[in-house]
């Protein structure tokens, strides 16, 4: 999950911050406002988005670790990797939605 604000030209400005909600972000900053390149934004203008998909990487990783068990190990590892990766993606999606709703 990555936090960003969108400037007037529509360009996303990413923040080196991590927070579970906008109020958590305000607590971390100690203020409801933050300035980037001289432009001041309210925390309500900060949004969260996904940094990328975890499932494909998790699938490949599971398959690679499963190599220790031969072909069945690769297949089982790949399947479990996909399952756990999908779960991680769903949790990430829930965290993003929770931030954007806050």
């Amino acid at each position: 999950m990555k936090l960003y604000v969108t400037d007037e030209s529509g360009t996303k400005k990413y923040l080196s911050l991590s927070a579970s909600s906008r109020s958590d972000l305000a607590n971390q900053l100690g203020s409801q406002y933050l300035a980037i390149d001289g432009v001041t934004y309210h925390v309500s203008q900060v949004n969260a988005e996904k940094t990328g998909e975890t499932t494909p990487v998790s699938t490949v990783l599971g398959g690679a670790i499963g190599l220790v068990g031969g072909m069945p190990g690769v297949l089982i590892g790949g399947a479990l990797g996909a399952l756990f990766g999908n779960d991680a993606d769903n949790k990430d999606k829930a965290r993003i939605e929770a931030f954007n709703r806050s």
């Binding site: 999950m1 990555k2 400005k13 990413y14 923040l15 080196s16 911050l17 991590s18 927070a19 579970s20 958590d24 607590n27 971390q28 900053l29 100690g30 203020s31 409801q32 406002y33 933050l34 300035a35 980037i36 390149d37 001041t40 934004y41 309210h42 940094t51 990328g52 998909e53 975890t54 499932t55 494909p56 990487v57 998790s58 699938t59 490949v60 990783l61 599971g62 398959g63 690679a64 670790i65 499963g66 190599l67 220790v68 068990g69 031969g70 072909m71 190990g73 690769v74 297949l75 590892g77 790949g78 479990l80 990797g81 996909a82 756990f84 990766g85 991680a88 965290r95």
Partner: protein, 192 residues
């Protein structure tokens, strides 16, 4: 028709290739796996990667919430970095050692690491060690991904600065209103 997910297809192809290689070149793959586990390069590599990612992430991505990198949060950053690095590296190195012992005992049979373990125990050990290794590597990947974003430097601001209309914005708004009020037929500026 829905757009195909290229990443998932690529992952499927990689897993299929790995499975095919493990089936066709079974003995060679197992020998290579043994070399990798016994040489200790995997262990050293993971410890180095964990250290670099935990340290860089704790410096670059500032957080005090539960979304952060730290497994243990005492509030004193250097201690948190040390404990988090220790936890991840201990899990990874232990998983590598257990995997090494279980693989050699189960698939090669020339050494006995776990004398009182049944076949089922060894398979469970293989699964648990693989899961621990998978967890650490995937978690490092997720943290590393956040480091690749180009962040914009920010500073804390105030409500007054937020509400303040800057001269350039005021000029842009004025010019916008002016051009909107020009009639396309008469080319005259209407009074606003």
């Amino acid at each position: 028709m829905n757009k195909l997910d290229g990443h998932s297809i690529a992952a499927l192809i990689v897993v299929a290739l790995l499975a095919g290689s493990a089936y066709v070149f079974h003995s060679e793959v197992m020998k290579y796996v043994r070399v990798v586990l016994e040489a200790g390069h995997l262990r050293t590599g993971i410890v180095l990667v964990v250290f670099v990612i935990v340290a860089t992430h704790s410096i670059k991505v500032k957080t005090r919430s539960e979304n952060g990198v730290f497994v243990i949060k005492s509030g004193f950053i250097p201690l948190d970095v040390f404990l988090t690095f220790g936890t991840y590296s201990a899990v990874a190195t232990t998983a590598c050692s257990l995997l090494e012992g279980a693989v050699i005992q189960q698939f090669f049979g020339d050494a006995t690491y776990f004398t009182k373990f049944d076949q089922l125990d060894i398979y469970v050990l293989l699964g648990v060690a693989s899961l621990l290794l998978w967890y650490v590597i995937l978690h490092m990947y997720i943290l590393a991904r956040e480091l690749f974003f180009k962040d914009s430097p920010y500073e804390v601001s105030t409500e007054e600065r937020h509400n303040k209309v800057r001269p350039r914005e005021a000029l842009a708004r004025f010019t916008g209103r002016l051009s909107a009020s020009v009639s396309p037929h008469t080319n005259n500026i209407m009074e606003t």
